[in-house]
């Protein structure tokens, strides 16, 4: 009997949630999602058109209960990084067996990682690449690398973007960024892998890799072959500035005092 803590039930997160919750081992789910379902979501989402205007978290809850009435579903319709909601997130994670991150921004991913490490919980993260050319699924365990270690490794070794450099002849001009949406088919392909690896981790079958990259299209200069898996075993970096422990005051009061003293000292350097 397991408790799943999931952040994000957008077009990528909802199919993962649906597939994981079909497994009888799941008895409780906590969903964190602040967004409202909008008309432009319909094309790639499991939810129907009538759901437009409703909270995605409530629609996800309804979806699950229509298929698993026995499931206990708790909805936290807030931003994961909202400072005022952290105690509710800590409480839910402390009771959870597995975290699933389907957030689409770096700030939320780093914060999810921090929460999971604080509570020593395993978690997974799925990422569909722009244009649906492939995607990543990452598996994190308490003794392993953090998201910072993995992101840093991938940034240095796995190019997945061949977009042109900004136009420096026009300083202050717009910074070009890929905005090509992925197709529902490519989102579901990566979501299926994400769900499979999450269920494996939940069952105690830790994969032999940290990161799975699955290509879905041939992109010259990026992916030479479609439908090809790449597995990466990323080590915990000894010099990681995110997860390696360094001495700091233990209590919050001492931390605040030390911070004020350091700011006063460095303000008058």
């Amino acid at each position: 009997m397991a408790h799943l803590f999931q952040v994000g039930v957008g077009s990528g997160g909802m199919p993962v949630l649906d597939m994981i919750c079909r497994d009888a081992s799941i008895h409780r789910v906590t969903i964190v999602e602040p967004d409202v379902y909008k008309p432009h979501n319909v094309e790639r989402h499991l939810f129907a058109l009538w759901g437009v205007g409703h909270s995605k978290a409530d629609l996800a809850r309804r979806w699950l209960l229509e298929r698993r009435p026995d499931l206990e579903v708790c909805v936290l319709p807030w931003d994961l990084t909202d400072p005022g909601r952290q105690s509710a997130f800590h409480e839910a994670i402390e009771d959870a067996d597995l975290g699933v991150c389907a957030a689409d921004n770096e700030k939320a991913k780093y914060h999810f990682d921090s929460l999971m490490r604080q509570h020593s919980r395993p978690w997974t993260l799925g990422e569909v690449l722009s244009g649906g050319i492939g995607g990543f699924v990452h598996c994190f365990v308490p003794s392993g690398p953090c998201y910072g270690c993995v992101a840093s490794f991938l940034k240095r070794t796995v190019p997945v973007d061949n977009s042109p450099a900004p136009d420096y002849s026009a300083p202050g001009g717009p910074v070009w960024e890929t905005t090509i949406p992925a197709s529902k088919a490519s989102i579901e392909a990566i979501a299926s892998l994400h769900a499979l690896l999450s269920l494996d981790l939940l069952a105690g079958r830790e994969p032999s890799f940290t990161t799975l990259l699955w290509t879905l299209a041939r992109v010259p200069g990026v992916f030479e072959e479609p439908f090809r898996p790449y597995r990466f075993r990323v080590a915990r970096a000894a010099d990681c500035l995110i997860c390696q422990a360094r001495p700091t005051p233990s209590s919050l009061e001492e931390l605040d005092v030390a911070l004020d003293q350091a700011l006063a000292r460095l303000g008058n350097a």
Binding site: P83, A151, V160, G172, L241
Partner: protein
């Protein structure tokens, strides 16, 4: 989570950022030391750099979502319009995009002092560009 409000942010500052700033300042002429001030939920670093002939007054902002979001560095001393310079005389260093693949900033490996060293290199390039019309480093990919 906010840099100055969250426990994670405070520990990052006390265990990583402040010690590297103190090492940077140690034995340095007061004119060139980094001075810190609170700015909202983030921090403002003020300092001066002299890559070659000129002294430049500088400002680096650690926004509330630092280190996930890269520092923003701008030159307070007036510059000529040049490549790699964004609005408000902000240096174009990491702003290639917001995704992991597109951003050049790495919160697991870089500190605010790394950003200051990158600014020093940018200014050295600026002085060469000013004299020759050529930016001496390749375009960022």
């Amino acid at each position: 989570m906010s840099l100055l409000e969250s426990e994670t942010g405070k520990r990052r500052l006390l265990s990583i950022e402040f010690p590297v700033i103190e090492r940077y300042n140690e034995g340095r002429d007061p004119t060139y030391r980094i001075r810190l001030a609170r700015q909202g939920n983030g921090l403002l670093l003020r300092y001066a750099l002299k890559p070659a002939h000129n002294v430049y007054e500088m400002e680096t902002r650690l926004v509330s979502s630092y280190p996930v979001v890269p520092p923003e560095t701008r030159v307070l001393t007036p510059l000529k319009t040049c490549p790699h310079l964004l609005e408000g005389q902000t240096l174009c260093l990491w702003r290639q995009g917001s995704t992991r693949a597109a951003s050049r900033w790495d919160p697991a490996r870089f500190t605010c002092v790394f950003a200051i060293q990158a600014a020093w290199r940018w200014l050295a390039c600026y002085e060469i560009w000013h004299e020759t019309g050529e930016w001496p480093l390749p375009e960022a990919k």
